[in-house]
């Protein structure tokens, strides 16, 4: 393995820390809530199958749906922009802000905006960008990156946040979550109302009507798309379904899987800017459709990951995510979903090791509201990494020797006899507790029984018929 920063080195630095512990606690509460609302909803299984069918259908007709969506949204008075990559998406957003004279920007949570590093770019241009989702607001104040797509500061304790508010907002230290919440509300109230433009993501778009669907719990997503004069929505190009009834089916699975809610507090459906009769709402609505590697993913073996609705259930279910936390992945998208999305969007270098950050236990696929075959794609990416010669030499050699030996009965029998003898050497009192070399990490958390002195084949040759 190369000397560069890897999943393993990041994870090793995090495991056992307070951050990892905070993630484990947070994840456990999400899982318990999810289980309750899934169990009480007898048609959850049927809804998941429908949601899967809807998402896969959308992906196989993506160009037609996007084209229809753009026509419908423009007929409703909105504008659609097409961004090839992150740089172009940033440029389009910056141009809209400049043309409309928008200096004060409020944002709701958007993974695409993180993906294209929008805030950093806009701040460089002198635009004042404020994250308004409580978790994102805290992360922005701390100069930190979100560690979970649903709960961005799952890795921080209330004490961390109390100290941060005291230092950055000039308020007396408190670690009472209710008080911290009140401080953020007071601080952000006028910021919302005086902002020139709001920047949001898009949870789902509806081709047939040109509608955007935005899901939030706090109400910040509604405020930033209601109070300012300009609304800019960043949308990954795969985030579309044909019809509103289809979107409604997917929404039945989204909040249940994400946070264990039946529906999120606010599911907002927006179709164009303010119309003549509307008392409020933005005068301009711009949607920036972002490719940034997605068409390459669509053409390849991991296209199915584009069906993802970003609920975060696979993160919570994953034993590796739960042990190491989101920051171990080093990328905007973490967990099992992120291990496929990240190398897909940004290439195998340096992300090829993320698909190895999995035990392939399958819990991710089991909880996925759209049944994405995550382990299958993790294996596919591992195969790619191996065929590109990215594996460390010892593993590469070991595996190819294993492959040759295991198909020849005589060699295989000999190898087993050797393994039995070697096993006896490194075991004590019936167990192998520590292996040298590459096996060391493996035995750190596992013991294996000492191999039998006689292999089964030898026993069979000696005893059959007797």
């Amino acid at each position: 393995m190369s000397e560069s920063v890897t999943f393993l080195s990041r994870a090793e630095a995090l495991i056992g820390t307070r951050e990892a512990e905070a993630v484990e606690n947070g994840v456990r509460s999400f899982l318990a809530l999810r289980e309750r609302v899934v169990d009480e909803f007898p048609i959850m299984g049927a809804m998941r199958s429908r949601a899967r069918a809807i998402r896969l259908h959308s992906l196989s007709h993506l160009d037609r749906l996007l084209s229809h969506f753009a026509d419908q949204l423009e007929a409703a008075g909105g504008r659609v922009h097409w961004a090839d990559d992150a740089a172009e998406a940033r440029q389009i957003a910056a141009d809209i802000l400049e043309r409309t004279g928008s200096k004060r920007v409020v944002k709701s949570k958007s993974m695409v905006s993180e993906e294209i590093e929008l805030n950093h770019h806009l701040e460089g241009l002198g635009v004042d960008v404020v994250e308004t989702d409580l978790g994102e607001f805290i992360a922005q104040l701390a100069g930190d990156t979100p560690s979970h797509i649903i709960a961005p500061v799952m890795h921080m304790t209330r004490q961390d946040i109390g100290r941060l508010f005291a230092a950055e907002l000039g308020v007396p230290y408190t670690e009472d979550p209710f008080e911290l919440n009140r401080i953020a509300r007071e601080h952000l109230r006028a910021v919302f109302l005086e902002a020139d433009a709001g920047v949001s993501g898009v949870n789902m778009a509806v081709a047939e009507s040109g509608s955007l669907i935005l899901v939030t719990n706090e109400g910040n997503g509604r405020l930033i798309t209601t109070a300012p004069r300009v609304h800019i929505a960043l949308m990954g190009m795969e985030r579309i379904v044909s019809r509103w009834e289809d979107a409604a089916v997917v929404l039945e699975t989204l909040a249940r899987s994400a946070t264990g809610q039946r529906l999120s507090v606010y599911t907002n459906v927006i179709t164009g800017p303010r119309r003549e009769d509307d008392p409020d709402g933005p005068e301009e609505l711009h949607v920036i459709v972002v490719d940034n590697g997605r068409s390459r993913v669509l053409a390849g073996e991991t296209a199915e990951i584009l069906a993802c609705i970003r609920c975060g259930a696979c993160l919570n279910a994953c034993p590796v995510f739960r042990t190491a936390g989101g920051h171990a992945y080093g990328s905007v998208y973490s967990g099992p979903m992120g291990a496929i999305v990240t190398p897909g969007l940004h290439g195998m270098e340096p992300w090829w090791d993320l698909p190895y950050a999995s035990t392939l236990c399958g819990a991710c696929e089991e909880v996925c509201p759209v049944g994405i075959q995550i382990p299958r794609m993790l294996l596919e990416l591992r195969r790619q990494a191996a065929s590109e010669g990215r594996l460390p030499g010892w593993l590469e050699k070991g595996m190819s020797r294993y492959a040759k030996t295991s198909v020849e009965p005589a060699k295989w029998a000999r190898a087993k006899r050797w393994a039995s003898r070697l096993g006896a050497l490194v075991s004590s009192r019936g167990w192998i507790r520590r292996l040298p070399g590459p096996g060391r990490g493996w035995t750190e958390s596992r013991d294996l029984p000492k191999p039998a002195r006689e292999t089964f084949n030898d026993w069979w040759s000696a005893n059959r018929g007797s």
Partner: protein
């Protein structure tokens, strides 16, 4: 990037894509076992910290709204122009509350918005309600500002009992064209909430801290 170039590339990609086959699904939505919709709505709305009142008569609705507003020591309100019961706004005015204008002007938007800082109560109707999740469906448009259910600390919604439905999916199937006809609709499931600080439930982070639903017979 040019739209056609963008879409052509997407089209080419979907020609070589190897997506799994979608699972077979029946044309009709799966149905839930029948239940008492009002009882379910009440339980589910309460489970997400909304307060359900009534059912009251159409005639008794203004009094119920005034009682809720004064119970929160409200000094001002904003309201939809048309509500399922008449006389609500005039009763609030008679009780001494001040009405905040909700029409956003072409010029001076920020100044107008800042007048919302002190509005205590927002009164809205509802187009429907979803029993399974305890959700209100608010359709915005002429005389129905989005801000009324968003900026005040207290949101009071008047809901006609006959508009109860079961789930979002079932409701959406009944009038699929609705979203194309309206600029903005929102499904409200309880008061604004966050769990961002140690997954601890916190109400009223940016939107209303209190949601009262007045059921009308």
């Amino acid at each position: 990037m040019d739209r056609d170039v963008f879409l052509t590339r997407v089209g080419r990609a979907s020609m070589t894509t190897r997506l799994p086959d979608p699972p077979p699904v029946s044309s009709a939505l799966p149905e839930l076992p029948e239940t008492d919709l009002l009882a379910l709505f009440r339980a589910r709305a309460q489970s997400v910290n909304a307060v359900v009142h009534g059912p009251v008569t159409r005639h008794g609705a203004p009094r119920a709204v005034v009682a809720i507003a004064t119970g929160h020591d409200a000094g001002s309100f904003m309201a939809w122009d048309e509500l399922p019961a008449s006389g609500v706004a005039s009763s609030l005015l008679a009780a001494g509350l001040e009405r905040v204008d909700h029409l956003v002007p072409e010029e001076g938007r920020a100044e107008h918005n800042l007048t919302y800082l002190n509005v205590d109560v927002g009164v809205t109707g509802a187009q429907a309600a979803l029993a399974e999740s305890g959700t209100l469906v608010l359709v915005h448009g002429e005389g129905k500002p989005r801000m009324a259910s968003l900026i005040p600390e207290v949101h009071i919604a008047l809901l006609d009992l006959s508009l109860l439905d079961r789930t979002l999916a079932h409701w959406a199937h009944k009038d699929p064209e609705l979203v194309a006809r309206t600029t903005n609709l929102v499904f409200v499931t309880g008061p604004s909430r966050t769990g961002d600080i140690e997954q601890q439930l916190n109400l009223g982070v940016h939107g209303p801290r209190h949601v009262h639903i007045v059921m009308i017979r």
